[in-house]
Each structure stands twice: as structure tokens, then as C-alpha cells.
């Protein structure tokens, strides 16, 4: 297949990205506005020998995905707010058992059933903290149909590299809108690693020095025991050992935290001389960038930071990007989630929130007004 240009929805782009990245199993449950991901991948998967199954709920969907991963395939699911809430139990299980998988969360108006056909960014904190306990995940935020494709591919590679659940935090607007995308003939695909050691020597839950651990499949002769209980390097339950628990959970967090710079994808625009910096992620980055260029046209020294990865939080990159700016405006489609993270990181800088809920994106004019409102420029 050659390079293809298509005019498709973001949700279809996510499904196509998954297939290109080697996804061969999808366990899902229909939920607006994510359903087109399932509908499209249900068409594509059998053509590449892969399996689609619609499960009885989102808990079962992610359970089936985890099972398929341990059978040796790459697997994913897609959902939205209420379904994402149900998946939290198994997100924690996947983090604890270091099961690589991808979840596309097409965010809608929340909480509860709220606005099934309207966009939001209200699951950003749930992505980070939704399951109980200390753990780390990786989350990307696409703002275009092309990014829905690219970030889904990226998500599979990051999942394999760090043996961690990776979330593509899409939303109703980017999921449903159509744009032209270019699908390359080939994308970089990171293969899962088999251990060098034989079954007698291999420790399935021993930390690899660089964070990437080998992971054989069930049926390969390694006779692994995988449990959500606190376990030792062999995978055996060791739930009453305080030191063992500390070492395990610390390692699960550190394998992401210590690689934050490597994982982070952040784009800076006009930040070099910026006195005010606008920071956003996902779909509101588009009106934000427009507002920033409008401000530049008016002679204002305004810069823009676009977070393509939101978790782990790219603290260092943001600090560098903000540089000597006095004011930062965080633009997000909720009543303040990532805003508090930015505030935490930038002590001494005035961090302001431009929230929006209801389903519509901020207008460039609104953002420009916020830039000018208290900017003192």
C-alpha cells in the first residue's frame, strides 16, 4: 500500500493508526462519541487477521484487551467519559501488571451522562488519577485528524516501550470532524521484546535498566503468574511485605517519571521573547494559536505552548518554554484541571485559567481578550 490521502473523521483516523501500529485486537463497548473508532476497526481488523469483540460493558472490554495482550498481540479499546470511569479498575490492573495497551478516550461533556454529543476535556485528571493508588500512565492529546492517527501510532509504541497503559485523550470535536490526513506506507512500529533468558532464569517483573522490560506471551513456555496483588520479581504474591510493596510501586512510577523528558512532546511557538504565554493541549490549541498570532499582529509579545503529551506532566519543558514570561494563560475545556498542574510547576508566575464547558471550543477572540485583559501590555 502506498501513501494515502484521505478525508476522514478523527475517530476513523485513530482506528487506522491502531492498525498501522500493529493492533490486532479490539475489545470495546459502544459509547458516543467514540463509537466510530469501534465501528471502523471492526471493519479493518478481520482483514489483517485481527479480532474485534463487543463486550458486555467497558470493564469487560478492558479485561478482554488485557487478556489478548498476554496472548501476544497488541490490543486497544476506545471509550468516552462514563465508559472511561468503568475502565478505571482495569487501568490500575494494567499499570500494576505492566500490561501495554492503548485506550482512546473521546471526551464528552461530563460529569455523568451529561453531553454525549458535545466535546470537553473533562477526563484529564481521571486519566492520571482515576484508578486507586500510586501509578503512572502516559497520555497524549490530539488536536487534528492527522494527530489522531499519529498519536495513536505513538501510543502503541510508548505502551510497548514502557509496558504501561497509554491514553489518547481525544474529544468529540476532533473525533468527529473530517480533515485530510496522509497515511504513510509504513510507520515506525516498536516490537514487543522477548527475553534473552530462558524460562528458568527469566524474572517477568524485574526492572530493566532502561525502563523497557521483555515480555513473553502466555504459551511461550515461561509459565508466568500475573497478579494485581503486590508481587515479587517472579510475579508471586507478596502482599504483606512493606518494603517489597514500596520497591514495586516506586519502580512502576519511576519507570515513567524518570523518562519524562524522553516521553514528552511539547511544541513552543514564539516563546523566545514572550512576556505572556498561552498554554493548551488538544482541540483548544487551535483557537489558542490563532489568538496568539492575532496578538503578535498587534505587537504583543505572546508565546504559545502546545502539550502533545499531557502525562507524565512535562514540568521541565514547560519551565523552559515559559522562560522569563510573567503571565501564563491556560486554555482548556473544563473548569480547571491541567491549570492546577501548571500553577504547581510555575511558582512565581501568574497563572490564569480560561475555562470553557458546554461543548464548544473557545473562540480565538475570547482567548485574545483574556491575553489582553490583565496583561498590562
Amino acid at each position: 500500500m502506498k501513501t494515502e490521502n484521505l478525508f476522514i473523521q478523527g475517530n476513523e483516523a485513530s482506528a487506522r493508526g491502531a492498525i498501522k501500529a500493529g493492533c490486532r485486537f479490539f475489545g470495546g463497548y459502544p459509547i458516543t462519541p467514540s463509537t466510530e473508532v469501534a465501528e471502523n476497526i471492526a471493519i479493518f481488523l478481520p482483514k489483517v487477521g485481527g479480532t474485534f469483540i463487543q463486550m458486555e460493558d467497558e470493564i469487560a472490554a478492558l479485561g478482554a484487551v488485557i487478556g489478548a495482550v498476554w496472548s501476544g498481540v497488541k490490543a486497544m479499546t476506545a471509550t468516552s467519559g462514563p465508559g472511561f470511569s468503568l475502565m478505571q479498575e482495569h487501568i490500575g490492573y494494567a499499570a500494576m501488571t505492566e500490561t501495554p495497551l492503548v485506550i482512546v478516550d473521546v471526551q464528552r461533556g461530563s460529569p455523568s451522562t451529561a453531553q454525549p454529543t458535545m466535546a470537553s476535556q473533562s477526563d484529564m485528571m481521571q486519566a492520571r488519577w482515576g484508578s486507586h493508588g500510586d501509578y503512572e500512565i502516559i497520555a497524549l492529546a490530539p488536536s487534528s485528524v492527522q494527530e489522531c492517527f499519529d498519536f495513536t501510532v505513538e501510543a502503541f509504541n510508548l505502551a510497548e516501550k514502557y509496558r504501561v497503559p497509554v491514553m489518547v485523550m481525544s474529544d468529540e470535536i476532533v473525533g468527529h470532524m473530517r480533515e485530510k490526513i496522509t497515511i504513510p506506507e509504513k510507520v515506525d512500529v516498536l516490537a514487543r521484546q522477548m527475553p534473552f533468558e530462558g524460562p528458568e532464569e527469566f524474572l517477568p517483573f524485574k526492572a530493566a535498566p532502561d525502563g523497557t522490560s521483555a515480555m513473553p506471551a502466555f504459551g511461550d513456555g515461561y509459565k508466568m503468574h500475573v497478579t494485581g496483588l503486590t508481587h515479587d520479581e517472579r510475579g508471586y504474591p507478596d502482599a504483606s511485605n512493606p518494603e517489597g510493596h514500596f520497591q514495586l510501586v516506586k519502580r512502576l512510577c519511576d519507570k515513567i517519571r524518570k523518562h519524562t523528558d524522553e516521553i514528552s512532546r511539547v511544541k513552543n511557538y514564539y516563546t523566545d521573547d514572550a512576556e505572556i504565554v498561552v498554554l493548551s493541549y488538544g482541540i483548544p490549541t487551535r483557537p489558542s494559536l490563532k489568538a496568539v498570532s492575532m496578538a503578535r499582529d498587534q505587537g504583543l509579545k505572546v508565546g504559545f505552548i502546545k502539550l502533545d503529551t499531557v502525562w507524565p506532566f512535562p514540568e521541565k519543558t514547560i519551565l523552559e518554554g515559559v522562560g522569563g514570561a510573567k503571565r501564563v494563560v491556560v486554555v482548556e475545556m473544563n473548569l480547571g484541571q491541567i491549570f492546577y498542574e501548571v500553577q504547581r510547576v510555575l511558582s512565581g508566575v501568574k497563572v490564569e485559567l480560561l475555562p470553557k464547558i458546554g461543548g464548544e471550543i473557545h473562540l480565538p477572540e475570547e482567548i485574545l481578550q483574556k491575553i489582553k485583559l490583565q496583561g498590562g501590555l
Binding site: 490521502n5 484521505l6 478525508f7 458516543t32 462519541p33 454525549p116 454529543t117 470535536i173 468527529h176 470532524m177 473530517r178 480533515e179 485530510k180 482541540i283 487551535r286 483557537p287 494559536l289 490563532k290 498570532s293 464548544e360 471550543i361 473562540l363 480565538p364
Partner: protein, 181 residues
């Protein structure tokens, strides 16, 4: 050049497909940037239907329509609902058999609206013998009136958007729409 287009009518008229075809023509065959969005309601059939397009020769930062340059109304309800948003001096294309023109005449005059009448539904029924291709007739009319996409790109986009085996009828529908102006 940033052009905002809104096409509205009721469910079953193929409104969304019309938006997709124009978006495809612009993005895949005319070398423009295009974003197509649509309204989602809980109704599976009937009800109001709306699609919007932003076409530009530059990257499209804001993907939604704010104030359309072009409004295409295929129902009176849609016409009344969206007319106020149309830019002064904008283009209004209506299917004259589905709207009551008297109601909008003062607005059209006051805001210097360029009004075009494209009887897409009647043409589809009488010339093609198929009411369901009214949307393709309308694409022809939009192409001819607004020139936001080229005829050639529109033909290609129609070809790869309609079900296999229906190309001939759809091409005739498109040509009939072109000739309306």
C-alpha cells in the same frame, strides 16, 4: 482566503454527505485545507440536520464555523434558524420549493444577501427520477454559484463518495445542478 459554509435541512436529505463531498473536493483534489463538522442529535431519523465546512488556502486554526459566508438551506426551518448568522453580503442558496421566500425578503435586502434559488429536490425528481440525489444536485449548484471548489474536484469527490453502481445517476444529478445557474 477563509470561507465558511453551512448546509442545513432535515434528516434524510443527505445533508452530511453533501458536506463531506465538498470537503473532499477541496482537501483532496483542489489542494485547499478543509474541515467538515456536523451536528449530532439523538434522533436517528428525521429532525434537523446540519453540516459545516471551513475551506482555506492556509492551515485552519479554528475548525468551527462562526459566521458563514455561504448558507445553503434545504428546509424552511433551517433557513429561519440559521439566516441571522449569515455574513452581510453573504451568499444564500435555497431550495425554493422547500421554503417561504416572503418571510426572508426583508432580511435579504437589509443585509445585501446574494440570494440564489436552486430547485434541487424538484430537479432530482423530474430530471433524474430519484429524489434522493437532491443533495448531489445541490453540490452542483453550490459549485457553480460559489466556485469554492472546482467542477473537476467536485466530480472526483462525488465519484468516490457515492455507492458503487450509482455513479451515473449521481453524475447526471451533479451536472443538472451545475446547469441551474
Amino acid at each position: 482566503m477563509r470561507k465558511e459554509i453551512r448546509i442545513a435541512g432535515f434528516g434524510g436529505q443527505g445533508i452530511i454527505l453533501a458536506g463531506i463531498v465538498i470537503g473532499k473536493a477541496a482537501a483532496l483534489y483542489d489542494g485547499l485545507k478543509a474541515v467538515q463538522t456536523q451536528s449530532y442529535g439523538p434522533e436517528a431519523r428525521g429532525g434537523a440536520s446540519r453540516t459545516e465546512l471551513v475551506l482555506s488556502d492556509e492551515e485552519i486554526d479554528f475548525p468551527k464555523v462562526q459566521s458563514p459566508d455561504i448558507l445553503v438551506a434545504m428546509s424552511h426551518e433551517a433557513l429561519i434558524k440559521y439566516l441571522d448568522d449569515l455574513k452581510d453580503g453573504g451568499t444564500l442558496i435555497v431550495d425554493p420549493d422547500l421554503i417561504l421566500e416572503d418571510e426572508i425578503r426583508p432580511f435579504v435586502e437589509e443585509h445585501n444577501i446574494n440570494l440564489y434559488r436552486a430547485p434541487a429536490t424538484r430537479t432530482a425528481q423530474e430530471e433524474i427520477g430519484l429524489a434522493i440525489v437532491a443533495n448531489i444536485v445541490m453540490i452542483g449548484a453550490i459549485t457553480a454559484i460559489t466556485k469554492v471548489i472546482t467542477e473537476d474536484a467536485a466530480r472526483k469527490a462525488v465519484a468516490d463518495s457515492v455507492p458503487p453502481g450509482t455513479e451515473k445517476k449521481n453524475f447526471s444529478a451533479f451536472e443538472a445542478g451545475l446547469k441551474m445557474v
